[in-house]
């Protein structure tokens, strides 16, 4: 079983975002970096599959050379090796990103049985790269997976929708995107971290393309400017809240 997990380096923004002076990016001077939340579940799923069935787990990302930091920290979880498609640090549009990932996957000697993405990125939220990759590789794709087993070369997956749980089965090779809740991602062990330093990270270059979805500028979304009306402290404020709830017709 050879598994590939695609990752994205993203800043770990807390409660508030600050923009760079040109408003083209988030100011990251004072921020650490990590990967998108669902991607931790993707790596955990890959590690578990290789533990159970043998084989290899490769990590793939497109980003600045600093993204090696995220690859190393996920190699420490138990991945075998990693590939970094190095950019100039600029954000690539979804079509350009997908094309570069596809080229890198096609250039691999390993033919991956399963490719896993996180359900969505924390930052750009384009909702399309995984689908473009699936089309280019002519592979079936199941998105937003919340439970997954591999049985006799078939990915048996559930996704959670408003009306309940949908059940899917698809023969490998396939692509899945996974959601938070799929598993509980483990922390790296100390020996894991030591080994990760020596694991291979292949650096590749790709030529940027002219973006068809062209970012012009970013702005902070307005929050409610008036702020909350403080009704009071502790249980003494309950009567005031009951009046509010009556007024809006909550009961």
């Amino acid at each position: 079983m050879d598994v590939l997990v695609c990752l994205k380096r993203v800043p770990l923004a807390g409660g508030t975002l600050i923009l760079t002076p040109d408003s083209r990016d988030i100011e990251t001077k004072h921020l650490g970096f990590g990967i998108s939340p669902h991607e931790e579940n993707a790596v955990e799923a890959g590690v578990e599959l290789v533990e159970q069935m043998g084989g290899t787990l490769t990590l793939l990302t497109l980003g600045p050379s600093d993204a090696e930091e995220q690859l190393r920290s996920q190699l420490a979880i138990g991945a075998t090796r990693a590939v970094l498609i190095e950019t100039d640090g600029q954000e690539w549009d979804p079509q350009g990103t997908a094309a570069a990932l596809v080229d890198a996957i096609n250039a691999e000697e390993i033919k991956f049985d399963l490719i896993i993405f996180g359900a969505e990125s924390a930052d750009s939220a384009g909702y399309q790269i995984h689908i473009r990759v699936a089309h280019a590789l002519n592979r079936p794709i199941i998105t937003n997976v919340k439970s997954m087993k591999i049985e006799n070369g078939v990915a048996v997956c559930d996704r959670v929708v408003a009306a309940g749980r949908e059940h899917y089965e698809v023969a490998l090779p396939a692509i899945v995107t996974v959601r938070d809740g799929l598993n509980i991602p483990r922390y790296p062990s100390v020996p894991g971290r030591m080994q990760a330093r020596k694991k291979p990270v292949d650096m590749k270059k790709a030529e940027p393309r002219v973006p068809k979805l062209e970012k012009v500028v970013l702005a902070l979304a307005p929050s409610k400017s008036t702020g909350a009306e403080i009704l009071g402290n502790g249980p003494d404020a309950v009567p005031a809240l009951v009046e509010v709830l009556k007024k809006i017709g909550a009961f």
Binding site: L17, H135, P140, I141, G164, L213, V217, A219, P235, A250
Partner: protein, 319 residues
């Protein structure tokens, strides 16, 4: 002409699609709608009311449920025939996914979660990023605009429209288009009854609830208000509540009439999932908690005291 994918779940209309139809009308061109699967034909009435002159119904023996790649193929067939200026859908997980298949088939850009759309050359959009905390101004360089409409950015308005002409068509599906389809479905983690998406009232608990037992009082209040229970990510990661109840970017995005957030400080990813609620009430010990920036009303205090007092006061008031 603007073509709008109207999504439905086994014939049940996706309400966000009405907002997409409304957003499409604002572009000043004729609007036509498309539904995937024969069950969608029952939506002709409402689609007409929202201003679509024609409803295209994609029917095929292998489209029996949600089959996103088949949707992409059907939309591609329709786009090639009708040559619309734009294809829009709701900015829901399903809307985004189905239009991404169309964009992949045509190798055209797609702009997801747009709050504003201006057709032109290039097209221009404002779209949500970082769980709605950032707005990106972007140009889309393609003749055909493929875009989804940010959930809750447009209020649904009827057009007092008349009858819709229903046109059936059979897309030329390839076997790989329906290789991935729903094999079965059960109520699973959802509790039946009121789901998070449909709830008018949601009472959500966060880290401040302290553990699974603390949710008894949250449930009681939610039930009393005819609503349902939600929670933050830390609650599901700690295993206190099922993931189906998680509100936020990695959980469910909601916009109820009333959202009560108890013991939730307001991480960006949680705010993203609830900030469009009509009225937001916060109960929190910390007067500096980020969630207060999004709230309408707040009580500064310990939820373990405030919620039981609130529950009994509402019981009394109800008589």
């Amino acid at each position: 002409m603007i073509l709008v994918l109207v999504d439905h779940d086994r014939g049940e209309l996706d309400q966000l699609s009405l907002r997409a139809l409304t957003a499409a009308r604002k572009l000043g061109q004729d609007v036509e709608a498309v539904v995937i699967g024969s069950e969608g034909a029952t939506l002709a009435g409402i689609v007409g009311e929202y201003g679509a002159k024609t409803l295209h119904v994609a029917t095929h023996a292998n489209i029996t449920d949600y089959t996103p790649m088949a949707t992409g193929r059907a939309l591609k067939d329709l786009v090639e025939k009708l040559k619309p200026a734009a294809v829009l859908a709701a900015g829901s997980p399903r809307g985004n996914e189905q239009l991404a298949h169309l964009a992949a088939f045509l190798d055209l850009p797609m702009a997801a979660e747009c709050s504003e759309i201006t057709l032109g050359s290039p097209h221009h959009v404002l779209r949500a990023r970082w769980a709605g905390n950032l707005i990106e101004s972007a140009n889309v360089h393609a003749e055909l605009l493929i875009a989804t409409v940010l959930a809750f950015s447009t209020e649904p308005e009827t057009a007092n429209g008349g009858a819709t002409t229903v046109v059936q068509f059979e897309p030329a599906l390839q076997p790989q288009d329906y290789a991935v389809k729903v094999l079965s479905r059960d109520a699973g983690e959802s509790k039946g009854g009121v789901t998070l998406v449909d709830a008018k009232v949601i009472v959500s608990g966060g880290r401040g609830v302290g553990g699974p037992d603390g949710f008894g009082q949250i449930e009681e209040l939610a039930t009393l208000l005819g609503g349902t229970v939600g929670c933050s990510r830390v609650v599901t990661s700690s295993g206190w509540r099922p993931h189906a109840e998680q509100v936020g970017q990695t959980g469910t995005k909601v916009a109820p009439d009333l959202y009560i957030a108890a013991g939730i400080s307001g991480a960006m990813q949680h705010i993203a999932g609830m900030k469009n609620s009509k009225t937001i009430v916060v109960i929190n010990t910390d007067p500096e908690a980020p969630i207060l920036g999004y709230a309408d009303y707040a009580i500064i205090g310990d939820l373990h005291q405030v919620i039981p007092a609130l529950t009994s006061a509402i019981r009394q008031a109800k008589g």
